[in-house]
């Protein structure tokens, strides 16, 4: 019997299994977009057929980081900006786990920006959901990397002189193989995109537009949005890097002009995930490494037998 018998269990999964019975109202404000992510994530799980014990959810710090308090799986609420490196290693250690990381725009695009670039570049097989509310929520409303230029806050009283970061373009450039934007106000699309991202074999980055009615009154949910995949006006090939880049440029500009375009922006299926590449060059074992520690028949080599010869 496998030491991780929860993995590969193919019974019907009910989304309620992902509800731990602890109420998010405890920490999230009424009307917060984070509820939408939680709901979409729970709805996506039965579609991908993963049960709570085989899912490992890694979050950062912020209101968004509380996600795994309300989602019943293995959870790791890490530190500000660092969910990705912790998650990456868990996936390498046990590639059979379903690894999902999540956090806010400050968390993922600010303090954790470097990790996002490298995780995308390496194309780790995992899903990263960024709750983009264009504000620092938990620390009470400071300007974030996605706040629009001119945004005023207590720490930028004269209005920010910085242009917002372009997270989708950045991830595409860095090497992510699945890039999408969705919004809490579009639950069906959100659920579908999350399910698709989880099933994608490679790094999937979802910029999830949420609203923070407490600190960001200009939240995007007041604005009508368009699903680019369903609109004939935005016909492009999601697997074509060039067309996708152009589409992302447009959507990221329009986002700040008041038109919200959501949907899949780039999907590349051919590139092997990082773990696969590592396995191919002989830098990663075929079987999940974590299993070996629970396998009574596993043989553990001694350095004495193997390496000490060089030193004689």
């Amino acid at each position: 019997m496998s030491a991780f018998s929860a993995i590969g269990d193919d019974r019907e999964i009910d989304r309620d299994e992902f509800t731990p019975g602890i109420e998010p109202q405890a920490t999230w404000c009424p009307g917060c977009g984070d509820f939408g992510v939680l709901k979409a994530l729970k709805q996506a799980m039965p579609e991908v057929g993963r049960n709570p014990d085989e899912v490992a959810l890694f979050t950062g710090i912020g209101c968004s980081g509380k996600l795994n308090s309300y989602f019943n799986s293995y959870g790791f609420h890490t530190i500000h900006g660092r969910s990705l490196p912790v998650a990456r290693a868990a996936k390498l250690a046990n590639p059979e786990l379903e690894v999902i990381a999540a956090g806010g725009d400050g968390d993922g695009y600010g303090i954790g920006g470097n990790h996002l670039i490298h995780t995308a570049r390496e194309n780790h097989d995992m899903t990263y959901i960024v709750f983009n509310n264009e504000i620092f929520g938990l620390t009470k409303g400071q300007t974030s990397p996605t706040s629009p230029k001119g945004h005023k806050s207590k720490t930028q009283p004269h209005g920010s002189a910085k242009s917002p970061i372009r997270p989708l373009s950045q991830s595409l450039n860095a090497g992510a193989t699945y890039v999408a934007r969705t919004a809490a106000v579009n639950p069906n699309q959100a659920k579908e995109i999350i399910a698709e991202a989880i099933e994608h074999d490679g790094f999937a980055h979802i910029d999830f537009l949420t609203q923070c009615p407490t600190w960001n009154k200009d939240a995007k949910h007041y604005v009508p949005y368009t699903d680019v995949q369903q609109s004939d006006d935005y016909d492009f090939d999601v697997s074509d890097r060039k067309e996708a880049a152009e589409m992302m440029r447009q959507t990221e500009e329009k986002l700040y002009e008041g038109e919200v375009l959501t949907g899949r922006m780039y999907v590349e299926d051919a590139r092997p995930s990082y773990g696969e590449e590592k396995r191919q060059i002989g830098e990663m074992p075929d079987e999940p490494l974590a299993e070996r520690y629970f396998d009574e028949d596993a043989e553990w080599e001694r350095t004495y037998d193997k390496l000490l010869q060089h030193h004689k």
Binding site: G21, D53, S73, I117, Y304
Partner: protein
């Protein structure tokens, strides 16, 4: 000065093959039956500059570098031939020759490559006068010429070895054997010819010196390796199969060795974007059930402070290596210092519970890395192995049987799925991962690993209740803090019982003591022998457990001496401070001998320092500092 020993120094520019040549020299001497020890000195430069390695060989185990040396092989710096640099730095290529004059003992041999160094320039260095004054035997030889004749100029080092062998009359057999083992084809043949030619040429010179190379044989099979090798092998034998890192001198050594070997052991190595990520990855792998480690040196370790605290709070096992170099900030990248002690003990926010071991030599690098893994995984706590640039690179022989230990792949206090079924669960379905009072009466609560059935829990850096849910409840807070911190007492008891890492040296009833930690320990031991020979009554205690501190053992030992001198390689007496803090007394009994110029102590310096301290004299040498007792 000790007789009957060879201390051979090879000096050249970085890139001249000084390292590999000295390694082979040391190995050859070991194979011939001697005990060897190497000391490395190099600048923070990739090519050129003055670098040297000393190989000390005796017929008994060698504890440290010696005082000075008695044979210099000066290859000259072949990378210093740039006229622009010459205008700026002077004649750089000569540095490996004339910068080594100070420590060459009376009657020593000085062999240099006149093929590289212009005789005219050499004359300008007043070599002749110095040689006369010190009774040195100066041997200019065209090593470059010999090398070129049979192969290529870079084989100058092989020529140097051949000439050394002739002058010391130690034969070339072992060197030939090594060349045959390490090379093949034309390279092998050329090197063998260079070796023999240089040997013959030097033998003809018939130099009459009185360096006696001792003869000996080993009772047991020996191996020669560095502290970084020993740490890496300790980790591998303990089942470590994941490493993540970012290069920084001198930590890079362990990272490289592990990266080279992990794939063949079925493990994974990851070079990542920075040290925060490095520690975070090791943490993530450990969380997912793999034995993992990371590490760095001063500045990089500073970045690991947050993941380290996260490991403490989430009770995730984690092993970190901190290879110290001189600070603050980037300090002196290639020079040893023991000044990161407080950094590793106290970095990261909050009241912290972590384990810190400071191995004193290569032997301990292996055993204590193993202990660090065992403790980290059994007690679910981060463990740090702190050592320094000195042990990192020095080579030393020890019996191969020291490594003949069974591997331990046990992931520690992790439950099986059956055990999880029987364990307590929260009404939300979550497994009670952080029980206030674990059933076995210990402070270690049961752990599950993602993917195990019904083992779901939340690991969080926030304070949390038994199932991992975030909680600021005061009673819960106290219970969790007490349990986490309580592990240190359990670990102290465990170490006392199973693996005392403290080393006692010298006569038990001695009046004076020298207290020491880490890489300076064995040098102190050598000094203790000499002090007792000089009629003093001295013993030493080398302490390796920094946290939890062995309060009882050190108190008892301090009670048994009138006074103690604490020897360490930093300017602020960090280890003495730790001792006083942990024990809470002895302020009037402890004084310090400190050195922080980038070079480790030599035994004679400790002898001098000790003698001036008990005579109440000022230190004659300006490269050390004396810090008197501070009172209780």
């Amino acid at each position: 000065m000790t007789d009957n020993e060879l201390i051979w120094r090879i000096a050249g520019g970085s890139g001249d093959g000084i390292d590999s040549t000295s390694q082979n020299f040391a190995k050859a001497l070991m194979r011939s039956g001697l005990h060897v020890f190497t000391h490395r000195h190099y600048p923070s430069r990739i090519r050129g500059g003055h670098t040297y390695v000393e190989v000390r060989a005796k017929d008994e185990p060698v504890q440290s570098r010696g005082d000075g040396y008695n044979f210099l092989l000066a290859l000259g710096d072949s990378f210093a031939r740039n006229p622009q640099e010459e205008a700026y730095y002077g004649k750089e290529e000569l540095k490996p020759l004339y910068e080594n004059f100070d420590d060459l003992r009376e009657g020593g041999v000085l062999l240099y490559d006149e093929g590289l160094l212009d005789q005219e320039d050499v004359d300008e260095t007043d070599l002749e006068a110095a040689a006369e004054e010190n009774g040195w035997h100066v041997v200019p030889m065209d090593l470059r010429g010999i090398a070129k004749e049979h192969g290529r100029e870079i084989m100058r080092n092989t020529a140097g070895i051949g000439a050394t062998a002739a002058i010391l009359d130690i034969g070339t057999e072992e060197f030939e054997e090594l060349i045959k083992q390490n090379m093949s084809g034309d390279m092998q043949e050329a090197n063998l010819n260079v070796l023999q030619d240089a040997y013959d040429a030097a033998a003809e010179l018939d130099i009459d010196h009185d360096i006696e190379v001792p003869e000996s044989s080993h009772e047991e099979e020996q191996v020669i390796l560095s502290g970084s090798n020993a740490i890496s092998y300790g980790a591998l034998d303990e089942g470590c199969r994941f490493i993540s890192g970012y290069p920084m001198t001198p930590w890079t050594d362990v990272f490289t060795i592990m990266s080279q070997h992990l794939p063949e052991f079925g493990g994974i190595s990851e070079q990542v974007e920075d040290e925060i990520a490095a520690a975070a990855l090791a943490l993530g792998a450990s969380h997912a059930g793999v034995k993992a480690m990371s590490g760095s040196s001063g500045g990089g370790f500073a970045l690991m402070s947050e993941p380290l605290g996260l490991a403490e709070m989430t009770e995730t096992p984690l092993v970190l290596v901190e290879a110290m170099r001189a600070g603050p900030s980037t300090g002196m990248p290639t020079k040893p210092e023991q000044a990161d002690l407080e950094h590793v003990l106290y970095t990261s926010q909050g009241d912290s519970a972590r384990v810190v071991f400071a191995p004193a030599n290569i032997r301990e690098c292996y055993t204590q890395t193993r202990a660090a893994f065992r403790i980290a995984y059994e007690y679910q706590i981060p463990a740090i192995v702190v050592y320094d640039q000195k042990i990192q690179g020095e080579l030393r022989n020890l019996p191969a049987s020291h490594f003949d230990e069974e591997p331990n792949a046990d992931p520690g206090s992790v439950l099986t799925e059956d055990e999880i079924q029987d364990a307590a669960h929260h009404s939300s379905g979550k497994f009670q991962r952080f029980l206030h009072e674990p059933e076995d009466g210990s402070n270690v609560s049961p752990r599950s690993v993602p993917g195990q059935k019904d083992g779901r829990y939340l690991a969080t850096g926030n304070e949390h209740n038994p199932s991992g849910h975030i909680s600021e409840d005061p009673q819960n807070r106290i219970a969790q803090m007490n349990r986490r911190l309580g592990k240190l007492d359990d670990i102290r008891a465990d170490l006392d019982e199973n693996a005392s890492h403290q080393t006692y040296y010298g006569p038990e009833d001695a009046d004076y003591g020298i207290l020491v930690w880490g890489s300076q320990q064995d040098t102190v031991f050598e000094a203790v022998d000499r002090l007792n020979e000089n009629g003093h009554s001295v013993k030493a205690l080398g302490v390796s457990d920094m946290m939890p501190y062995p309060v009882e053992a050190v108190s008892e030992w301090l009670d048994s001496v009138d006074e103690a001198l604490v020897v360490e390689m930093n300017a602020t007496a960090q280890f003495r401070g730790l001792t006083q803090k942990e024990i809470g007394k002895y302020g009037d009994k402890l004084s310090s001998l400190l050195k922080y110029n980038g070079n480790p102590f030599e035994p004679a310096e400790i002898v001098d320092g000790f003698e001036s301290s008990i005579n109440g004299e000022d230190l004659a040498a300006s490269n050390m500092k004396f810090l008197p007792a501070a009172g209780d």
